[in-house]
Symmetry: C3
Subunit: 132 residues, 3 copies
């Protein structure tokens, strides 16, 4: 298992993590298998989405904000309940296949850490398992 550290830049931030995760896959020495990416937080998640037009990420942030508005009549005193639910909606782990020693993503896909209560320093845990 490898631990990575990244820094998000704003309250909501979809941060491309292809490069650090790819380095973890290379470091594992595994050629064929699966790569598990896990986010050990409760107001940040991890998803996959388009890496070509940054407007896609902007629209995704806006749609999620409409679904779970930052301001609301929330019980949790810290005031970041919307960030908790958004993180659960994106999820805390992604499983990506490994082929030829590399992350096997689709042509338009990238991995994103989804920050919903930043800016902060965040951890990522990566575990690569081999196929038989």
């Amino acid at each position: 298992m490898q631990e990575l550290t990244v820094r998000t830049a704003s309250r909501t931030h979809f941060l491309n993590i292809d490069d650090p995760v790819s380095r973890s896959v290379a470091a594992s020495g595994i050629n064929e298998g699966v790569c598990h990416v896990f986010v050990p937080h409760t107001t940040a998640g991890v998803t996959i989405n388009e890496n070509a037009d940054p407007d896609v990420l902007r629209d995704m942030e806006a749609i999620l904000e409409r679904m779970a508005p930052w301001r609301g009549n929330y019980a949790h005193r810290e005031g970041n309940s919307a960030a908790h639910v958004k993180a659960s909606l994106m999820g805390f782990n992604q499983t990506v296949l490994v082929r030829g020693g590399r992350l096997a993503l689709g042509t338009w896909q990238s991995l994103y850490l989804c920050e919903f209560d930043g800016p902060r320093t965040r951890k990522l845990w990566v575990q690569v398992l081999p196929a038989p």
Copy 2:
């Protein structure tokens, strides 16, 4: 790793993929373990849900459409931002256990490719890992 190809029939379509994924599990020769199903796209995802009453899928599509409407004041010029966020909400991978050489799903569960910007031809990548 095995690649499957499926064809969706409409803009939004929950397509049952139990049969092709089950054939991949059988082809792997693995008796006990886990099956990872990965969708290498950004406007289609994969989920699990009920296989008995097709009205459940129809209601799910309608609820998701209300959460992330196809028409909106979106920045992304291609106009399919709602499809991107719906795909992230459903997720791009599902992990299903394998028992006795078969997919171990619950009684009412089936695997669905979730098309949100079809009709299209879509790929599925399947990797099966053995338990010790």
Copy 3:
């Protein structure tokens, strides 16, 4: 693969399952690897979120209820379509890393079975795979 049984207490209930899942990890005898938690139902899911302030879970339930209201003009006669979509939004499986023979969760994280059509008795399937 191990099967666990839990009992939920109300229609919507985020039930902490750290203890039973941790016992499954211990029983597996695996020191380093990954733990897959799978829910074989269609109106209950599994997620990770905060274990400190129970108000977070209450707010999450309220936000999800606003996104997918229990009452609606649904086609499915059983009337629980909102529960089906909420389960897909949270997901039916979580993958948590295993380190030193224990579940590797973040400081504030716990695993929750997400009941959306309870109270009921629910099953959990757990499979632990070793790292090389």
